[in-house]
């Protein structure tokens, strides 16, 4: 019997179709995995089920009852519970109070703490969980907090439990306990929608697997009838359709950056090198430690171990300024949060990293600043009537070009691009690729972090794959292969 059916769900955002005519059926009491690369549409799908997102078309059928869209209240009252990666718990309240938050059991006007603790204990007992209902949530480890979230959902009579990467923050012992709870939930008739990148646990826990790719459902398969390789093929098996601008062979034998055993900021034992004129790609899933490694190289986070040689000389930047001065630039991932100074002009944004260099006795050389901004406006084709325009008035792609201009102006030898084309249109994308090519043809080196498989394969000379804060694989261009990369990226 199907407890939940999604029928032809489509969700469009400006310029992108997040879900395209997706239909999935969920059977009562099964654990059903949703897998796919970053951006495949998993989150949008969950949000459609929880009422956080309204689909443009399609139907959601819960136990025979049809909806064209849900609200969070409707979703909850029809038995859909979600365990997000970020918990919704109040640390300074007890476990029982959290479970009954907003629905406190009362005796007259007074909250009946004893009754709540009793009810909470009942739920825990049922699933063999050893948590004291009177403990403060802030005193629990992440693993136990997650179990409190699950108990909270169950106390709301959830019959469909959506779990978004539940094992990601857990230690392996905690994960084991989670798996046991999931098995018990299944046995008691709860349907689990399990989102995970970890193949091992998917094969261990689930009955069926649905693969999403680029907003489309590729297939739903029985877990017992598939294997890891077939699954990866389904996840990545698209044709490489975009063509990437050609570049001249320009890799020199000279090594520019040599990183040995770099640790800290959530990553450990990272070793790799980049030659002059080379584009090195960093592939991996979100949270694999790519941005964190970039922050270490750029002096934006604290290194605990390891050495970094730039041009054979050791560098250990403690601040971004030191990194910039030694010839490293970082075009950050989060353009709005970490890159653009929205209330400032294109001119100011361009000159920001070199202001002191173009100043005499503290006074900015206005002519030089203007020239710099005009030069980059021309050379990387920032579409704006004037460099005196505020950056917030530009499109995403042009904003990104301004940030890149800021870093080119600092005349770096190594440019780290972190997700350089996220959220920008196709035209601007290809211009940024051309720019990367121009950089390496000029003898500079590029480290390119990208979650888009096509992009990282299309642009890199070599790819290093990260997983769980460590390097899990490394490939030369002739060995590039989506499945191999995906396998490296989802290793446990």
């Amino acid at each position: 019997m199907n407890i939940l059916e999604l029928k032809n769900i489509t969700k469009k955002y400006p310029g992108v179709i997040a879900l395209n005519d997706v239909s999935i059926e969920f059977v009562k009491g099964e654990a059903h995995a949703l897998v796919g690369e970053n951006g495949a549409g998993k989150s949008t799908l969950i949000k459609s089920c929880t009422g956080a997102v309204m689909p443009n078309s399609g139907k959601i059928v819960i136990e025979g009852e049809e909806f064209t869209s849900l609200t969070p209240q409707l979703s909850e009252s029809h038995g859909i519970g979600v365990i997000y990666q970020e918990f919704n718990l109040v640390g300074e309240l007890s476990v029982a109070e959290n479970i009954f938050l907003g629905r406190a059991i009362r005796k007259g006007l007074v909250v009946d703490k004893k009754a709540m603790a009793r009810e909470a204990a009942k739920i825990f007992e049922q699933f063999n969980i050893d948590i004291d209902p009177n403990a403060l949530v802030s005193s629990l480890t992440v693993g136990y907090q997650q179990l409190v979230e699950i108990a909270k959902a169950l106390s709301q009579k959830a019959r469909i439990l959506i779990m978004d990467e539940p094992s990601a923050p857990l230690t392996s012992a905690e994960a084991e306990r989670l798996y046991e709870v999931v098995e018990k939930l299944k046995a008691s008739g709860v349907t689990i929608i399990y989102i995970s990148h970890r193949m091992e646990e998917i094969f261990r826990l689930t009955e069926r697997i649905t693969v999403l790719r680029d907003g489309q459902k590729i297939d739903t398969v029985k877990t017992s009838e598939t294997n890891m390789n077939d699954l990866v093929k389904l996840m990545v098996g698209r044709e490489l359709k975009e063509t990437y601008p050609q570049r001249k062979a320009c890799i020199s034998d000279e090594v520019l950056l040599d990183v040995k055993n770099l640790s800290g900021n959530g990553v450990s034992d990272i070793s790799f090198h980049i030659r002059k004129g080379e584009v090195l790609g960093f592939a991996g899933l979100i949270g694999a430690g790519r941005t964190e490694t970039a922050e270490l190289l750029f002096g934006a986070a604290k290194r605990t171990e390891g050495t970094v040689l730039l041009n054979g000389k050791e560098v250990s930047p403690k601040t971004p300024r030191e990194a910039i001065d030694s010839g490293i630039a970082l075009v950050p991932e989060d353009r709005k949060g970490k890159g653009a100074l929205m209330d400032m002009t294109i001119r100011s944004n361009t000159s920001m990293a070199v202001l002191e260099r173009i100043s005499k006795c503290f006074v900015i050389d206005a002519k030089e600043e203007r020239r710099l901004a005009e030069e980059y406006k021309q050379s990387i084709r920032i579409k704006t009537p004037s460099v005196e325009q505020k950056i917030k008035n530009l499109s995403g792609g042009n904003q990104q070009k301004v940030i890149i201009a800021r870093w080119l102006a600092s005349e770096p030898e190594l440019v780290i691009f972190d997700e350089p084309t996220r959220g920008i249109d196709v035209g601007a994308k290809s211009e940024i690729y051309t720019l990367v090519n121009a950089l390496v043809e000029d003898g500079k080196s590029v480290l390119m972090i990208s979650s888009e498989m096509e992009e990282v394969m299309g642009m890199s000379d070599r790819i290093v794959v990260l997983c769980d804060g460590k390097i899990s694989g490394s490939l030369d261009r002739k060995d590039f292969n989506q499945e191999t990369i995906m396998n490296f990226a989802s290793q446990k």
Binding site: M342, M352, F362
Partner: protein, 322 residues
């Protein structure tokens, strides 16, 4: 394309109005009081207004820097009090040369500002709390030194600063003009002035662009202390007597002037030229209302309302753009 050009035209007009609207408000106020009272539009009185606001104007430059940074400095009023008391004490009780006394007390004010900046940058406490605590401490110290008794009897030469004239223009007004000029120069021409905007607009992006954010904070809060110190000296010279409550509530008046002048309370946006207008509006309002025989308490109601409207306008702008 023509349509787009038109849009851009109106956008520019709106931009212009937003930038300079405050001067229209100032002119309307001046016009109103000129008609409503006989004595307002007299050169004597106008010069009087300028002299009355000069202390406010001087201190508001440093305060504007702090607001641009996304911070606040509640200790400004108490620094002015302490400067009065200490400078007076140096000259009267210690018989110190006025120049030396001025230099030492202004340096002290700057150091207090630096202390604010150091705590805010390194311990990462909210500026509101740091400067509030500092304000309470300084008020206490000022009282301990003066014991609540006014200090007076300064050397005659000291009076020049607050009471002298340069040609027809009172010296406090000259000092205000110079300091506002310096303030505008810092913001428009120097790289560290540009950093104030960058840090106030997006601290993380500023840091990743190689700006030493801590140093910027030290500098800004030190300048706030410095300018408050100079304002304190001018007040002392004008009143010729140091009392332990002279700076009380001054920070709020400065805040009003800055916000009126379009310095965003959320940081990153604002110009000194408009702060000048904000300061003048407050001065014209006070002076005009006195001439109209508006009681002190009604004045408070009106000034509070003005502050509320100015902040509301700022917040509405912010919501629209984000």
């Amino acid at each position: 394309m023509g349509h787009l050009e038109n849009l851009k035209g109106t956008a520019n007009a709106v931009d212009f109005a937003k930038r300079n609207g405050i001067y229209v408000v100032l002119l309307v106020l001046i016009g109103f009081f000129s008609f409503a009272t006989e004595n307002f539009l007299v050169s004597n009185n106008l010069m009087n207004v300028a002299r009355q606001v000069s202390m406010l104007g001087i201190a508001s430059v440093g305060f504007a820097f702090v607001l641009l940074l996304g911070g606040i400095d509640l200790s400004v009023g108490s620094v002015i009090t302490l400067v009065n008391v200490v400078c007076g004490w140096f000259m009267v009780n210690q018989g110190m040369n006025p120049v030396l006394a001025i230099v030492l007390t202004v340096a002290m004010a700057t150091l207090i500002g630096f202390a604010n900046g150091w705590i805010i940058a390194n311990i990462q406490m909210p500026p509101l709390i740091v400067t509030l605590a500092m304000m309470i401490i300084i008020e206490g110290v000022a009282f301990l030194i003066s014991k609540g008794v006014p200090i007076y009897g300064f050397p005659e030469s000291f009076a020049v600063i607050g009471q002298g004239y340069l040609g027809p223009i009172p010296i406090p007004v000259v000092i205000m003009a110079v300091i506002m000029g310096i303030g505008a120069f810092i913001l428009n021409k120097t790289y560290f002035g540009r950093y104030f905007y960058a840090v106030g607009g997006n601290e993380e992006a500023a840091k990743l662009s190689g700006i030493k954010v801590k140093n910027v904070k030290y500098l800004v809060y030190s300048l706030s202390g410095l300018f408050a110190g100079i304002a304190g000296i001018v007040i002392l010279s004008r009143t010729n007597s140091a009392t332990s409550n002279v700076g009380e509530g001054f920070e709020l008046e400065i805040l009003t002037a800055c916000v009126l002048g379009g310095i965003s309370v959320t940081g990153g946006v604002g110009r000194i030229s408009n702060v000048v207008a904000g300061v003048l509006i407050l001065g014209v309002l006070s002076n005009g209302m006195v001439l109209l025989n508006v009681t002190e308490f009604t004045q408070m109601v009106i000034k509070g309302t003005v502050l509320l409207i100015a902040v509301a306008f700022d917040c509405m702008q912010h919501r629209k753009t984000s």
